[in-house]
């Protein structure tokens, strides 16, 4: 009896000493900051940041390899908390969303054949796709399956992103076999929603709202933000001022303007005839002699607001189709302020 008790006590003692030594020698230091950061991060483990899950991102964050904004999923509250934990100041970035660059009219799009098989865009695309348009959205929802945030739905055979839910993680971009999805800033309101790289005749034979590469938008753009790449108009988000001139000019309406309504410029009697607006007008819509009141040709005006922004004399107002003044001239003081902020941006 006594031997047993002694042996067991001895064994306990040896183990205790062993464990005690091991806990000192093999101690792994864990950064408490990483643990906290991991807790705060959204925990979606979407991989959008390029790290293996949120824990990997937290470690990179603590090591200052990445910035808070590299996590596209975190909302602003989470980001504030992260910034507080890291002791840095949060710089606001514009929210980004995925955009499906195809928006055909489901009632008019013809199918080349009835597809019966594996319900996946990839599989259908291997057979050339059931749509007449060989670039269009196939609608079997490979992007829906790839999205971890339920931010994509299929509506009338077309994939549609719900901007509020989208975290711009980019999983759908990879999943689409036709490369129709791109990430844009949420502020980017003018978008070309067509990806058909064919020539005009081939495009218009399959889809009435496809880009026919007519170059009208390229000419209409007052800031040269549009270029023709592979027979598709591509808008440079950095240069675009969202005037919507391209969308109005587009003959097939494949450029969509989701921004506010745009109005025609009109010059009132405060005009001093400085000719600045006439010089800067990209459409050549303003005419008038020096030191005489200038006139805007409403038919030519592309509603880009460039003249409105540069007028020094409170003489340009924006009117709607009936001639009603919708936006009064920009006051001098405010204009200067705007100019400063414009330069800063």
């Amino acid at each position: 009896m006594l031997t047993a008790v002694l042996i067991l006590s001895l064994l306990g003692l040896i183990s205790a000493v062993g464990l005690g030594v091991a806990s000192r020698v093999f101690y792994v230091e864990i950064d408490p900051l990483v643990e906290k950061l991991t807790e705060v991060l959204p925990g979606a483990n979407c991989g959008g940041c390029g790290y293996a899950g949120c824990a990997g991102f937290a470690a990179a964050l603590a090591a200052k390899e990445v910035g808070i904004n590299d996590c596209s999923v975190a909302d602003s509250d989470t980001k504030q908390t992260l910034a507080r934990l890291l002791g840095v100041e949060l710089t606001e970035t514009a929210k980004e969303v995925a955009v499906v660059h195809c928006k055909f009219d489901p009632s008019k799009m013809q199918n080349r054949f009835e597809y019966k098989g594996v319900s996946s865009c990839k599989a259908a695309n291997m057979l050339g796709g059931q749509l007449d348009c060989s670039y269009g959205c196939l609608g079997f929802g490979d992007c829906v399956k790839a999205c971890n945030f339920n931010a994509i739905v299929i509506k009338d055979g077309l994939a549609e992103v719900i901007p509020e839910k989208c975290t711009s993680c980019g999983m759908c971009v990879e999943a689409c076999p036709r490369n129709l999805i791109q990430i844009h800033s949420l502020a980017q309101k003018v978008l070309v929603l067509c990806s058909n790289k064919d020539k005009a005749k081939a495009v218009s034979s399959v889809c009435k709202i496809g880009c026919i590469a007519c170059n009208k938008c390229v000419k209409a753009c007052p800031v040269e933000a549009i270029s023709m790449v592979n027979q598709i108009a591509v808008i440079d988000d950095e240069k675009c001022i969202a005037c919507g001139a391209c969308a109005r000019e587009c003959p097939t309406n494949c450029i969509f303007d989701f921004g506010e309504t745009h109005y025609v410029a009109q010059i009132n009697d405060k005009c001093t005839g400085c000719t600045l607006c006439a010089l800067k007008c990209p459409a050549g819509a303003i005419s008038g002699d020096k030191k005489q009141m200038h006139v805007v040709d409403p038919k030519k005006c592309v509603r880009c607001r460039i003249c409105y922004d540069i007028c020094n004399f409170e003489s340009i107002e924006l009117v709607n189709e009936e001639g009603k003044i919708m936006i009064p001239p920009r006051p001098k003081k405010q204009r200067k302020k705007k100019k400063d902020s414009g330069e800063a941006a």
Partner: protein
């Protein structure tokens, strides 16, 4: 008589409606559409431009890479334009459109003099110049197959006269009507590879062809006719090698890995034409058949003839078909347009009525194992597809996904109508894409 066979496979109804119908020559249409992709590998590069006049047999496109082929004009006429046109593979692909002037003016065909004593390289060059590709449907450029890398020794040539696909009889009629060309073609191949003996494998459901070729080779000891069991996919390269020689092509390998070269009988006739007459590949036998066709026929059609003309020549439809398949019903592609042209690989057009086309949706797997029992390559389609569905293609590749020959026996036999073959193809495409990414 004992016939040779391979393990697995299925036995669909044969339905050789046109086995006794002689081949009829189809007049050339007014407009010929010759796709630049009629072979495996890089698309050919056009040698002509819009407005050029071309002669029959003139090379109009040259190989765009090592694995690629010449393309010749099947008619004389004027090049209308070079633009994407509907293609049997699904999407529109660049094609040369030629307006036929009806004169059929030919270029001077230059045969190889005395091929029995010609150098193998001369013969291979002549075959390459004639734009010959594997006419069984795989469309692999023949000259590449005949020039195996030096580490492989070829000791067996097998000619594929199996035609295991239901409905098709194009090769069967060729063997009956032009047996000399097939035999001559085989002898040319034997000369090129420096071999003494070649085999012609024919399924036992073509006794007339077997008898005829046996008779023609009665006094020859360089060609042996092999009777094969009637089973699908007996005409697959690897199953044919196994049935004829008992050898297995190693996983991931080619027939040359086990010393074999397999060629289609149609290719043999084309090689014979190219060497003895100097004629490039410009036309081929096409079986137009199916329950929807009024008079099923075998046609000799120029490459580039729209399939609508072939159907017209067969008397048109008796009812609106639910499916028009280019090639055989087991491995062929369903066509979405009647403007699709005949290519070097179009062995048949099968027009099926709605009653014969399965429209049932897949139900869950019963784990019955039918697909496993019928797979000629001993794969586990059920497990592989499960992994592909889950996106675990690497594990599927470990289970032998890449050894699938896409014969479709699994899809044919599946009682749950699961699209096993399509999933396998999807998985294979994904594995290939991953390999390209990492390479």
């Amino acid at each position: 008589m004992k016939t040779r066979r391979f393990p697995g496979g299925v036995h669909p109804p044969e339905k050789k409606l046109t086995a006794k119908v002689p081949v009829v020559k189809l007049p050339a249409p007014e407009e010929i559409v010759v796709p630049l992709s009629m072979h495996i590998g890089a698309p050919a590069k056009p040698l002509v431009a819009r407005g050029d006049r071309v002669l029959r047999g003139q090379a109009i496109a040259e190989p765009g890479g090592f694995v690629s082929a010449y393309i010749h004009s099947p008619v004389s006429g004027k090049v209308k334009k070079i633009e994407p046109r509907p293609h049997p593979m699904g999407r529109a692909l660049p094609s040369i459109v030629i307006i036929n002037d009806g004169l059929d003016e030919c270029v001077d065909f230059q045969p190889v003099d005395d091929w029995r004593n010609a150098e193998p390289d001369t013969l291979i060059a002549a075959i390459q110049k004639a734009g010959i590709v594997g006419m069984g449907g795989a469309l692999f450029p023949t000259h590449v197959k005949l020039k195996p890398p030096p580490q492989f020794t070829i000791d067996t040539v097998i000619i594929n006269g199996v035609e295991c696909e239901p409905y098709l009889t194009a090769d069967h009629r060729l063997m009956l009507e032009q047996p000399e060309k097939v035999l001559e073609g085989l002898r040319i191949i034997l000369r090129i590879l420096g071999l003494k003996k070649g085999y012609i494998g024919i399924e036992a459901n073509k006794p007339d062809a077997i008898e005829l070729l046996r008779m023609k080779t009665a006094n020859a000891d360089d060609i042996e006719i092999v009777d094969l069991h009637v089973k699908y996919p007996q005409g697959g390269e690897k199953t044919l090698i196994y049935a004829c020689t008992g050898r297995e092509v190693p996983s991931g390998g080619l027939p040359m890995n086990c010393g074999c070269v397999v060629q289609n009988v149609g290719t043999m006739a084309a090689i014979c034409d190219a060497i003895t007459e100097g004629k490039p590949l410009m036309e081929r036998n096409v079986t137009v058949t199916g329950e929807c066709i009024k008079n099923p026929v075998n046609l000799l059609a120029r490459i580039g003839t729209p399939i609508s003309k072939l159907i017209e020549a067969a008397g048109g439809f008796t009812e609106t078909p639910a499916k028009i398949i280019g090639g055989g019903p087991m491995m062929g592609m369903t066509q979405s347009s009647l403007d699709v042209p005949v290519t070097k690989g179009t062995s048949g057009l099968v027009c099926l009525p709605p009653s014969l086309v399965s429209t049932s949706d897949p139900s869950p797997c019963l784990r019955c194992g039918s697909c496993v029992r019928h797979c000629p390559f001993h794969l586990l389609p059920t497990d592989i597809v499960r992994l592909v569905k889950a996106g675990r293609v690497d594990e599927a590749a470990d289970l032998g996904l890449m050894d699938c020959c896409e014969c479709g026996s699994c899809s044919y036999i599946c009682p749950s109508h699961i699209e096993l073959l399509q999933w396998m193809r999807l998985g294979k495409a994904e594995v290939m894409a991953n390999r390209k990414k990492t390479a």
